[in-house]
Symmetry: C2
Amino acid sequence: MKRKITLKQIAKELDVSISTVSKSLRNSLEIGEETRLKVQAFAKFYNYKPNNIALSLKNRKTKTIGIIIPEIVHHFFSTVINGIEHVANENGYSVIICLSDDSFDKEVLNMEMLANGSIDGFIMSLSKETQFRGDFHHITEVINQGMPVVMFDRVTNDILCDKVIIDDQYAAYEAVQSLIDKGRKKIALVTTVDYVSVGKLRTDGYIKALLDNDIPFNENLIIKIEDVDTCEITIGKLLEDKAIDAVFAVNELFAVTIIKTANKIGLNVPRDLAVIAFTDGIISKYSTPTITTVSQNGIKMGNKAAKMLIERLESAEDEEDENYKTDVIETHLIERESTS
Amino acid sequence: MKRKITLKQIAKELDVSISTVSKSLRNSLEIGEETRLKVQAFAKFYNYKPNNIALSLKNRKTKTIGIIIPEIVHHFFSTVINGIEHVANENGYSVIICLSDDSFDKEVLNMEMLANGSIDGFIMSLSKETQFRGDFHHITEVINQGMPVVMFDRVTNDILCDKVIIDDQYAAYEAVQSLIDKGRKKIALVTTVDYVSVGKLRTDGYIKALLDNDIPFNENLIIKIEDVDTCEITIGKLLEDKAIDAVFAVNELFAVTIIKTANKIGLNVPRDLAVIAFTDGIISKYSTPTITTVSQNGIKMGNKAAKMLIERLESAEDEEDENYKTDVIETHLIERESTS
């Protein structure tokens, strides 16, 4: 059986990136003429037709929403999906999910695939690599084709569309303030080494809370950690030096690792070390002690994103609204044993 | 814009089930003539055309695999998806995921949607409701249309297709045997009240291990629990009566709840109570004490399911193989603090 040639295969055959193939097929002037014509000729020879189904279905509604998320083994994204599903189903929509694995190429391929007539619109959270590159042409492309996009959590200012976010800066501020209210002064921020926009906002909130309370900001207490294994080593040193009495961790895996490290060297949580984690996952609920968290409210975020997309899909074409909204979901602190 | 009518809307308008609409449109003799003709007339009037895209695309390959799973906030299914993705991507396939939410109707709708030209084949785990009903017509239908299906974990003998399972009976046997080897004699099985086939197999393995070791089987030690809240109450009573010295729990939420309950009444895990959980999720790795588990090996299961599907998709049409295989993934015990 003759196989259909894919974007990926064209990229491989011609030894160029997927992004280059995608842009060349759309005749983007960003790509040099020689490459552009070569890609187009190759695609034509192998009968590659971008969006040919989409064309034939232009006025057909699929009643399906496409979701693109970075990863699936992640409680936050799972709960957002549940939130989207709930509102989608209530309104007679189905949901299709694709994973980018935090890869730019996979995000581009997924959007290409789903935009080919499978769905009416997208709800997405950007991959780390896409945020790092700052290349959003694939998203601009589907929006220009008239397909609405709602972004959540990991968003970009470079794309005009509806967005649902949490106020990461305020959430971090509130968590750190609650630690200060409990008498803690040597508060570490344990965060990841990454290119995700939310990281900077959380750091800003952490610093602001310290300064508002006249606690000097010590750069050494912002700890950027690669993975859970290095977390234990880095935190172990700080604990042994009694350099910290509280930690605000950006995820619950770091938080639970910090608690175990503290226990190993004979420190008690919360007495010697108070711990708050960002994200409300299941580990926090079931660990010993249970962990105080800043809830990201994934369900509510999913609900809201689905509502925004469906409203846009169902508004009459002649009253198309170019005024995109950014909805800020409120977070709240769930107090548990690790700070009480 | 005129909306496309969906199976669901037809079902609602005519006040019949989705299954009835689906079967009527396929002219199944299971449905009475009156209903069948009414559904067909209604669908025709609203221009509903089942699988009309699929027809136009009969010989076109999408290089996409459709996955249908019962739920997403579940570490096991997430890891299976990662396993599928890995092998699919290596072979140039993309992956689309839909959730049944353990609902029969959603499973039928998802398959209908994806079979409409979006994918080349399915990898699926049955919803609880589908297993309870024993209605698999939607799966038979896609297989008859020439679309291969691979089932994993929650499978049925009523459908001939490739399957990937674990030996649930042996896995339970091995776990209970390991508790007996450590001198435990009053071993409870904590399981769910459900219709999932694996539940019975695990119970069989539990009973066989007891009998092989000349430990009398006590029906009162098989505890069927509705949810995590009732788990605490039921187990609390058994622990206070000193009726048990070990527990084999079918999921890690039960296991961690049992450990917390034991701690509350002053019992020590593992000294007074040894605990093993089925499923290797993240809670077990991070709880205090860490929990011994029977690993379901989701990654390997996903790898294998993807390999089986891709082999079938890429075999030449003239050598189509009707000899379906059932692959049994081996489990292994991951010993941690809760039994040491």
